[in-house]
C-alpha cells in the first residue's frame, strides 16, 4: 500500500490492466498513475483499474475517462487530495494508484 512499485499483488493487477489497454489500442507510455502528479498539476483521466465495484464507485464520483482532474496535495506518501468536477476528494494512495491519467 505504501510502496506502489513493489507490491506484488498490485503488480499483477497492473499487468492485467495494461493488457486490456493494449487490446483497446491505447498507448501505454502516455498514461501515468494519478499519484505521479505533483501538487498543483492537472491531467485528464484515461482509465481505471481494480475490481468492478471499486471502478463503479470512482466512476460515479466523476472519475470517468476524459474528465479533468487536479492534484491539490500529494506528499509522496499517504493519501492524496484531488479536485474533480468541482469536488474535493481524498483518496488513499493505493486507490489513487489505480487511476491512470494522461497530460491535458
Amino acid at each position: 500500500m505504501k510502496d506502489e512499485h513493489h507490491n506484488p499483488r498490485h503488480g499483477l493487477r497492473l499487468a492485467k490492466r495494461s493488457n486490456q489497454a493494449h487490446q483497446r489500442g491505447l498507448s501505454r507510455h502516455n498514461s501515468r498513475r494519478l499519484t505521479t502528479l505533483n501538487s498543483g498539476e492537472s491531467a485528464v483521466i484515461q482509465s481505471l483499474s481494480g475490481g468492478v465495484s471499486f471502478r463503479s464507485r470512482l466512476a460515479a464520483l466523476g472519475f470517468t475517462p476524459g474528465a479533468s482532474v487536479r492534484m491539490l496535495q500529494n506528499l509522496g506518501h499517504g493519501p492524496v487530495l484531488v479536485t474533480i468536477r468541482d469536488t474535493r476528494i481524498a483518496l488513499g494512495r493505493g486507490e489513487a494508484c489505480k487511476i491512470h491519467v494522461r497530460p491535458e
Binding site: P65, A67, H77, G78, R85, R88, G92
Partner: protein
Amino acid sequence: MAQQEGNMIRVALAGQPNVGKSTVFNLLTGLNQRVGNWPGKTVEQKAGTCSIDSWAFRVVDLPGTYSLSANSPEEVIAREYIIKEKPDVVVAIVNAATLERSLYLVAELLLLPAPVIVGLNMIDVAEQQGLTIEPRVLEAAIGVPVVPMVAARGQGIHDLLARIKKVACDGAEYTPNTPNIRADHADVLARIEELVGDHVPPEYPSTWVALKILEGDQQITDMIHPRLPPEAWSEVYQIIQQHEDTCVAVAGGRYAWIARMVRAAVVKPRIGPITLTDRLDRWATHPVWGLVILVGILALSFALTYAIGSPLQELLDLYLVQNLADLAIRALDTAPTWLKGLLVDGVIGGVGAVLTFFPILVIFFAVLGILEDIGYMARAAYVMDRFMHLMGLHGKSFLPLFLGFGCNVPAVMGTRVIESQRARLLTIIVSPLVPCTARMGVIAFLAPAFFAAPAIVSWALLAMNLAVLVLSGLLLNRFILKGEQIAFIMELPLYHLPNWHTIAITVWQRLLSFLRRAGTVILAVSIVIWTLSTFPGGDPETSYLASLGRLLEPVGTLMGLDWRMMLALISSFVAKENAVATMGVLFGVGESGAGLQAILRNTLSPAAGLAFLVTQMLFVPCVGTVATIKQESDSWGWTLFSVVFLLVVSLAGGVIAYQAAGLLGW
C-alpha cells in the same frame, strides 16, 4: 391519481452526501420525524410528516448515496424503496456548487418508476463561486421540475412543496429526458433487455434491469439469474464477460448526458475565485499544521465539555438524583424495604447516575455536531488517514472513534459511515478503548486518592489507552480480522457556516437514542445488579455479587486488589461511574466523596491503585455499549469476542501495572 391514504402524498427524499439533504428534511418535518432502522439493516431510516393547506406529506429520507449501484447497503435500500414502494414523488436534492457531480444521482433516478423533482440547493454558494445557473433552462433540458433553493435559509421550501403537490396530482405529464447509453453499447443493452425482458419481476423496469446487468451489478444479476432459462443466462453471462469495462463506460455516458443538460443552464467563470475553502484547507489539510489544528480542536472540545459539563453534572446529581431518591424514600415510607431498595438504589441509583451525564453529552455532541456540520470532520479524517492505516483502517474510522470520547454508544453506532464490513467490525471492537467521559470521570475522582500529580497520571492513562487501541487494532488486523485493505474515497465538502437547526436536531436525536438505552437496557441491568448485591441476606458483603467478587479474588491478588475493588470493577459494567458508588457502599462511607478518597489512600498501595486505574481504563465497556455492539455487529459471537478480548486486555494490563510498579518500589 397517486393520492393514497386520503390526502397523504408520499415523498422520498434522495440526494448525494453533502448536498444539504438533511437540512431540507429537517426543514420539512421539524420535530415530526422518527429515526429508526431500515428493516433488517443497520442503516438509519428517517421518516416524518408535514402539512400545508390541508395537504399532508409523508417524507422518507433515503440514505445519502452517490449513485444507485449495489456498492453499499445504502444504495440498495434507496433504489429498492423507490422500485418497491413507488413513492408519489422523488425529490432529488442537488448541490448547485457541484452540479455535474450531484446530477449523477438524478441521471440514475430518472430511469426508476417514480416522478422526480430536482431541488437545486445551495444556489447562494454557487453564486459565491462565480457560477450563474438558470433553473428554468435546466428544467427545460431535463424535463422535470427544478426548484431553486437555499435550504439553510429556508428559501424555496414552499415552492418545492407546491411542485410536489402538482406532480403528485397530475403525474400523467411526466416525460423526462433520460440519459441514453453510449452508442457502442446500445446493441448489447438491447440484446440483454430482449433476453431478460420477460423474466423481470413486474415491479422492476426492464430497461433498468438490463442496464444494471451490463454495469456488472451483482445484486440485480443474482436476482435475474435463477429466473432465466439456461440458454438465455449463458448468453447474458457471455455478454457480461465480454464487457467487463462497461461500468465505467455507462458512468461516462451519464456524465456526457449531464454535460448536455447543464451546457445551456450554467455559466462557469474561466478561472474560479480562490474560495474560503481553498484558504482554510491550506491549513486544515497540511501534514503538520493540520495535525496541530486537530489536536487543538480536540483539546478545546474536551476543555469546554468538562469546564461547563462537569459542574452541571454535579448539580444534576445533587438536585435531581438525590432529591428524587429522598422523595422516593418518603413516598415509600410504608412500603417493604426491598421495594425501597430496588427503587432507590437499583433504579434511581443506576439509571440516575447515567442520566447525570446528560450535560456533558449535550455539550460534546453539540461541539461535534458543529464540527461535522461546517465540514471540518472530513478534514480530520483525511489528516488521520495515515495513522489509521497502522491498524488496517482508514481515515473514516477516525470519526466514530472520536465520538467515543463523549460516549462509546454513539461511537459504535457511528461506525456506520465505514463501507467495509471488516473495517467496521474492527472499529467497533477497538472503539471501547477510547475512554468516554464517564471513564475519565472515574479517573479524575480516583487519581488524586493515590497520586500527588493526578493530572499527569490521567494524561498518561489516556495515552496508554490510545496506545493499546492502536496495538489491538494492529494485532486484530494482522491475525483475526484479516482482509484486503479497503478503499479510502471521501469527499471533502465545502466549508459553510453552521446551520443551528440541523445541529440541534442531530444533538437531540443522539441524546434520544442514549435516553432510550438508559430507559431499557441500563434499567434492566441496574435492577439485576441491585438484586445480586442485595440477596440472599440483604448485606452486600454476603450477597451473590460478593461471591462473584471473591471468585475473582485470585486475579485480584495478582494486582493487589481485594474482592471489594474487583466488585467495583464489575459494577462498572452497568455504568462506568458505578465503580465509585460501589466502593462507597462496600467501604461503608455512604457516598461522601472525600471520605472515600482518604479510605482508599489508607487501604491500597499506590501500586494497587495504579493497577485499578489501568484496569478500569481498559475494562469491558458499559452494558449500553455492549448492547449497541450486539445490535450493530448483528452477531453474538463478535459481541462475546469483544467482551472477552477487553476483559483479558484489562486484567493483563492491571497485573502488568501492579508488578511493574512493585519493581519500582511503589
